[in-house]
């Protein structure tokens, strides 16, 4: 009886999409020493450990039903920050919000950020996140100079691209299954302004959409597309592209259109003002009066097929006018933070996201098939987002020389089996098109699919590193069991 597990620590955890819940013994260490104690406890009770950051993954990456979950959000010190070189060393629980708040006033910005600022650095590296500049800057892992990692064997190892390179390339994007990051050294990117010059323009078909991403990427610092997944026929794949470029310091020349109105300004006359946290912070109220925290209640009635069609069509029509404007970094990057708790609008069964990364040569055909299939089966995505990508050399990489399409789907008690069948078909289409998947997003990827897109060699190498770093399989998540089980 003395060996009773800590039942009082049992907590029902869920994923970001609120589509999956499972109980786990939740531990929230504040020091890295406490992580070692949790490893001992897991060993003593024969339990597994999953690492959890902000819990922003759409799938089961931060869930461990019946096991231990280590919530690392409180291991969140910035250990060193050098404004002269832009080098930052931090613990894994530091959020991207904390990160940019620290570096922005000195004229720096994280080189790669996710669509929300609430993710943690450890989580971002565990999944090797990409941003809207993946085609240019690669993944976040490409900007890590060094990290230290605590292995379940008890050893603390320092890794960099040159030192323990194989472990470096496997731990980044390794889903937290090889060890626990204890400190991460990251190179920030120098900024002359807190503003980005944004250009928004419509695209009328999937062909035009992909061409705009392909042609636009080399000319811009960021590019992202919104795709109306409810549009059919000739309008299939229509949407809106946003490009963004860094502004330079100074007054410079202003670009005016033929009516004489200023449409662009490549220069920021007051970078001291724009490079402040206060200038970047997203307002908590819409139009100054309406609290954003309640917006999701007003979105909920539109979260059905006719409602989503109406909203997507209205958005497309409103975006038909090409526009140029300057926007703070935070406002451009953290789109998902505009409406707090927006995911609650999807109702009690939550949402899932399906993201496929497909080669530029085969993407058009594959996504035409996917979008038409989803419409034929009455399961259109309510939100589609496209990006341009480039390959990288991380072991479990998701990136390709092509594009990604992320589709959000509402889960209901009645559509689960139909949707599961549809996503199986999506997997088949993606694999046939030479595509890949991203472990932070898809919730139904099977072990067979994972081995097909990663390749047997990569999987075998990851398994051998797992055996070396974690011989007793102390680190396991529901995601790991699903794709490597």
């Amino acid at each position: 009886m003395n060996n009773t597990p800590p039942y009082e620590k049992l907590t029902l955890l869920d994923n970001f999409g609120h589509s999956l819940r499972s109980p786990a013994y939740l531990f929230q260490p504040t020091e890295t020493e406490e992580i070692g104690q949790a490893l001992k406890l897991a060993k003593q009770h024969g339990l597994t450990i999953t690492l959890r950051g902000a819990g922003r993954s759409y799938n089961d990456a931060a869930l461990n039903g019946g096991g231990i979950v280590l919530d690392l959000r409180q291991v969140n010190r910035i250990l060193a920050w050098d404004p002269a070189t832009g080098l930052l060393r931090a613990e894994p629980g530091v959020t991207l919000e904390h990160l940019w708040h620290t570096v922005l006033p000195d004229g720096w910005w994280p080189p790669v950020v996710s669509g929300t600022m609430f993710t943690t650095l450890g989580g971002c590296l565990g999944m090797n996140i990409h941003g809207k500049n993946n085609f240019r800057m690669g993944t976040l892992g490409e900007h890590v100079l060094e990290f230290t990692i605590l292995l379940p064997t008890g050893a603390e190892v320092t890794c960099s691209p040159k030192k323990n390179g194989d472990l470096f390339r496997a731990c980044i994007g390794g889903m937290g299954m090889l060890g626990i990051f204890t400190s991460i050294t990251l190179q920030m990117k120098k900024m002359a302004s807190g503003l980005l010059e944004v250009h928004a323009f419509p695209v009328r078909s999937l062909e035009e959409h992909l061409e705009a991403l392909l042609d636009g990427a080399p000319q811009h610092d960021y590019i992202v597309g919104w795709l109306d997944a409810t549009a059919r026929g000739k309008g299939l794949g229509r949407g809106q592209i946003h490009t963004a470029d860094y502004l330079h310091e100074g007054d410079g020349c202003q670009v005016r259109n033929h009516f004489g109105c200023q449409v662009r300004n490549h220069f920021d006359p007051d970078p001291k003002k724009t490079l402040t946290v206060a200038y970047q912070t997203l307002p908590a109220k819409l139009f100054g009066v309406f609290p954003k925290s309640i917006i999701h209640y007003f979105m909920a009635p539109f979260m059905n097929n006719p409602g989503a069609w109406a909203v997507n069509t209205a958005k497309y029509v409103m975006g038909l006018r090409e526009s140029y404007y300057n926007q703070p970094h935070a406002a451009f990057h953290f789109l998902l933070d505009y409406v707090p708790d927006w995911e609650l609008a999807y109702g009690r069964n939550g949402l899932i996201q399906y993201q496929s990364f497909i080669l530029k040569e085969t993407a058009r055909e594959a996504w035409t098939e996917m979008l038409e299939l989803s419409q034929r089966r009455g399961l259109p995505s309510y939100l589609g987002v496209t990006k341009r990508h480039r390959p990288d050399n991380f072991l479990l990489t998701h990136a390709v020389d092509g594009y990604s399409l992320a589709l959000d789907f509402k889960v209901t008690s009645g559509n689960r089996s139909k949707m599961a069948q549809m996503l199986q078909d999506f997997d088949r289409i993606t694999l046939e098109a030479g595509g890949r998947f991203y472990f932070a997003k898809n919730s139904e990827t099977t072990a067979e699919t994972a081995i097909r897109f990663l390749g047997e060699e990569a999987v075998a190498k990851f398994r051998s590193l797992k055996k070396r770093c974690d011989p007793h399989h102390l680190l396991e998540s529901d995601l790991y069991r699903r794709v490597f089980g």
């Binding site: 799938n59 019946g66 599961a420």
Partner: protein
């Protein structure tokens, strides 16, 4: 995990949700029928009983029918109270969570109308009541932390009055019913809003083999079907077959001066 080498059932995904249940006392009778039915409904099961061979063949049957691993066997004696906490932890980790807990174990050791047998009474109490306490306390604490879950325990219509035929069986089931009511009152405020007390009448199981005067005997499958329906509807109590509710309403209200003259 290295401590467990047996293949485990697949975990739930958003599009393939899997409810998870533990059935204590699953090797035969109502427990086995419940296991088969819950497995058909998509539950992943941890099955406990003393008879390891029966349990293993039941698991094999369920897994074969499902075409995947859906039931795991854990041989266990409910009077081995000390092993319950670690076993529960093991099952929770193997199943990946817990939505439903069923305590079905029960024995009836009749002593005869004029005899008294403390050994039999103790055994009955240990299996029917103390074993239930050992498990239900743990599971209640767990569900209280999680603020979710469903508990089912098989009591009996026999627990409603003390009868001359089988005092300790009546008493153990009465104690269990009363404990379950207290547990329900405790847990409802934590969102564990159903705590089902199933009260079967005579069910065609090993328990009534050789029993005299059994009537309205129903197959275990029917009892399991009634209990499953009550689980789905999140009822607090179910009599199976339902007519026992009316019968027991009458029996509960028979005045003592009449009841003590009855022989059953």
């Amino acid at each position: 995990m290295t401590t467990n080498s047996k293949p485990l059932p697949p975990r739930a995904t958003p599009l393939r949700p899997r409810r998870r249940a533990i059935i204590v006392g699953a090797s035969s009778g109502i427990g086995a029928a419940l296991a088969r039915r819950l497995a058909r409904e998509g539950y992943t099961l941890a099955l406990l009983a003393r008879r390891a061979d029966l349990l293993a063949s039941l698991c094999e049957e369920i897994n074969l029918a499902a075409g995947e691993i859906r039931a795991l066997a854990y041989p266990h004696d409910v009077t081995d109270y000390d092993s319950a906490p670690n076993l529960l932890q093991r099952m929770l980790a193997d199943l990946g969570g817990l939505d439903l807990f069923v305590y079905n174990t029960g024995i009836s050791l009749p002593v005869g109308l004029k005899k008294y047998d403390f050994e039999k009474d103790r055994r009955t109490t240990e299996v029917n009541y103390l074993g239930a306490l050992a498990w239900l306390n743990l599971v209640a604490a767990m569900f209280q932390s999680l603020k979710s879950g469903q508990i089912v325990a098989l009591s009996s219509v026999a627990g409603e009055r003390g009868r001359v035929g089988n005092p300790s069986y009546n008493a153990s089931k009465a104690a269990l019913t009363c404990y379950l009511e207290a547990l329900r009152n405790r847990l409802s405020r934590y969102g564990v809003n159903v705590l089902l007390t199933a009260k079967p009448g005579f069910v065609d199981t090993n328990m009534i083999v050789g029993a005299k005067g059994a009537f309205w005997v129903i197959p275990a499958e029917q009892a399991a079907a009634d209990i499953c329906r009550a689980i789905r509807k999140r009822r607090q109590q179910v009599y199976t077959p339902a007519r026992w509710q009316l019968v027991m309403l009458i029996v509960r209200n028979i005045p003592s001066f009449i009841f003590r003259r009855l022989i059953f």
